[in-house]
Symmetry: C2
Subunit: 345 residues, 2 copies
DNA sequence: ATTGGCACTCTAAAATAAAGAGTGCTAAAT
DNA sequence: ATTTAGCACTCTTTATTTTAGAGTGCCAAT
């Protein structure tokens, strides 16, 4: 990858910034007039030719202005990635919103999605934190009617799962309570794996429930991430690159299949650390449906304990300088919240 | 509203059905050729003129075919509303899917949304059933760390609400269990209203929790409907009437604000009975964002106990003959499920 | 009451023309 | 050795005109 002169760098940044704003190919003349660089359009043309040669810019057709290539965007992002900070006032506003929301995961996720979407004008995706190795804390069995029983399972760290069981025959609440009490004593702190090595319980009901618990915990562990929260779907519908018939459908299709989305978040962030932030531009060859899009994602939470992922999807032309710091900041905030919530166990 | 002759009726139905298929204005010639009615195009023209006069059809411009008006659609719908039945094989397939899903509200709602969307090719909305007068069944208090406590609240009928409380000071699990046990005895079967008339508890912790429970139950009761599930967002993006720049954004905006959606469902179905089915065409003058859309909704559940709403949103040109029976059928199915689930309390 | 025929209207599509923006290159200027 | 002005050229966009065709309404004939 060839080095850029200082001037080429300035020009490239200017072009990309302008293109992100206007969605119009940028010409040499416009550039010379709008920004007071002391260069003539001819000089700029030369530099543009060089940048095109190097693969950072391209022309939609022979005689149009220049448009950034994926490489161009990557350069742009890597240049401003570290320096960009969210204005303090915005930081404060966001923190404040979290502070005064009800202290529930559900609320936080929704809020995070909403903030990300409105700040970035893209589509936000927030995956609830997932406890890496789910450990049993507490089970509650509540008879609801005849053979149906509500089982509430609480994990160390606060994850909760409820499930309705249908037993073979009606069982009295007292017996259920007894089973729950015995299992609570037996299973405290165990993982699903450890449970499968236990010897069978004498009481058949205990044994049945034990299996169901282990099963449910396995399911919880397998799920790569928690539930997905989304906001801002309509934000990107207005963008010109999505007005072609197929653009939006392909990208939005992703949001209709939570599984795909979870996969994406899990895969692309699994090798990155909490706090680090990843920018996927143009699907990076891997995701065909995202060829026209960019994705800014970060992992949040407490590594080894509970982590989740969050991000913003937008056109390749997205407002990186706004999105990147926002994603970073919100990820940090959620990390704190998760950490506070988990530490005391 | 003038009466239609039998022939006019046939013609109107034919035109609307064809237009729903093709999204093209329907001309007299096409009609005469495609369907073997023994009428010449001239005769059809006369009838069309009459139908236009009566307000059931209109012409996009002087010399184009006819397109149904909102009145036209209303007539169409009212004619086929009662007769239409879902093919038995489809009914079976759908029942089967519900039958083999895990018996959880969450699963059912998602499944209902998915089925409605795929059958109707529109956007589906399903509001979880809401228990009309929430009655207490059981509370569970689980210490998670220092001052934080997980409260799981179970209502008669199976509604569950979890909440993280932050107490003024750390409290041992034993004391929490004691409080929970006392409150379980005291509050069984009570409504939020009844709770507010109780005299203060001697133990301050009991009293605090009692207030929180009452509060949470009030919140649950106030919520007009339960959580909203949606599917098929991308279905309507392809429809020609949404390719104008502003069409989709305005309609989809609704789905970004759960509150609005809940309102809509609540209002439009509040005066209709479970089992009855309502078709809103062109927003009916009330909902501006839906001017281009139609909405087929139904209430489901057990009146007086727990009811929810579900529906399909699509272009005015939606496949009513498919959507209406599907909505009716799924509503019936969910009613059964809710009823089974609630009866034994 | 129904139908064939016909003149008329209006749109959608195709063809053509004009305008404009931007480029690359060359030769002069700094 | 850069930088710049100038110019010919290319290609898109927009406007304009033409053409083709679908559909109508109405009248006279069946």
């Amino acid at each position: 990858m060839p080095n850029l002169t200082e001037r080429q760098k300035t020009l490239l940044m200017l072009i990309i910034r302008d293109y992100i704003d206007t969605a119009q190919p940028i010409g040499s003349k416009r550039l010379a007039e709008h920004y007071h660089i002391n260069l003539s359009s001819a000089t700029i043309r030369n530099e543009m030719a060089a940048l095109t040669e190097m693969g950072y810019l391209r022309q939609p057709h022979t005689s149009a202005g220049r448009v950034p290539t994926e490489e161009g965007y990557r350069y742009f992002v890597s240049e401003m990635m570290h320096s960009a900070e969210l204005p303090e006032t915005v930081q404060r506003t966001i923190s404040h919103q979290f502070f005064q929301s009800r202290p529930e995961l559900d609320q936080w996720m929704t809020l995070a999605a909403s903030i990300l979407a409105s700040q970035s004008q893209g589509v936000s995706v927030v995956a609830a934190p997932h406890v890496e190795s789910t450990k049993f804390k507490h089970v509650e069995l509540i008879s609801t009617q005849g053979r149906q029983v509500l089982m509430v399972l609480v994990m160390l760290g606060g994850e909760v799962s409820q499930q309705i069981l249908t037993l073979a025959e009606p069982v009295a609440q007292e017996r259920l309570s007894g089973t729950a009490a015995r299992l609570n004593g037996l299973l405290a702190g165990q993982t699903a794996q450890a449970m499968s090595t236990l010897t069978a319980r004498p009481d058949p009901l205990d044994q049945d429930i034990l299996l169901l618990i282990a099963n449910d915990m396995r399911r919880l562990t397998e799920k790569a991430s928690g539930e997905i929260y989304t906001d801002g779907l309509t934000n990107i519908l207005g963008e010109p690159e999505f007005s072609e018939v197929d653009g939006p459908r392909r990208a939005l299709k992703i949001f209709e299949e939570p599984a795909t989305l979870q996969d994406l978040l899990a895969k692309t962030t699994s090798n990155s650390n909490v706090g680090a932030l990843q920018v996927l531009i143009g699907g990076e060859g891997e995701y065909d449906d995202l060829r026209q899009c960019s994705l800014v994602i970060a992992r949040y939470g407490v590594p080894g304990m509970a982590t989740g992922a969050l991000g913003v999807l937008g056109p390749m032309r997205m407002a990186y300088s706004r999105t990147i710091p926002t994603v970073r900041f919100v990820a940090g905030l959620l990390s704190e919240l998760v950490s506070d919530n988990i530490s005391g166990e």
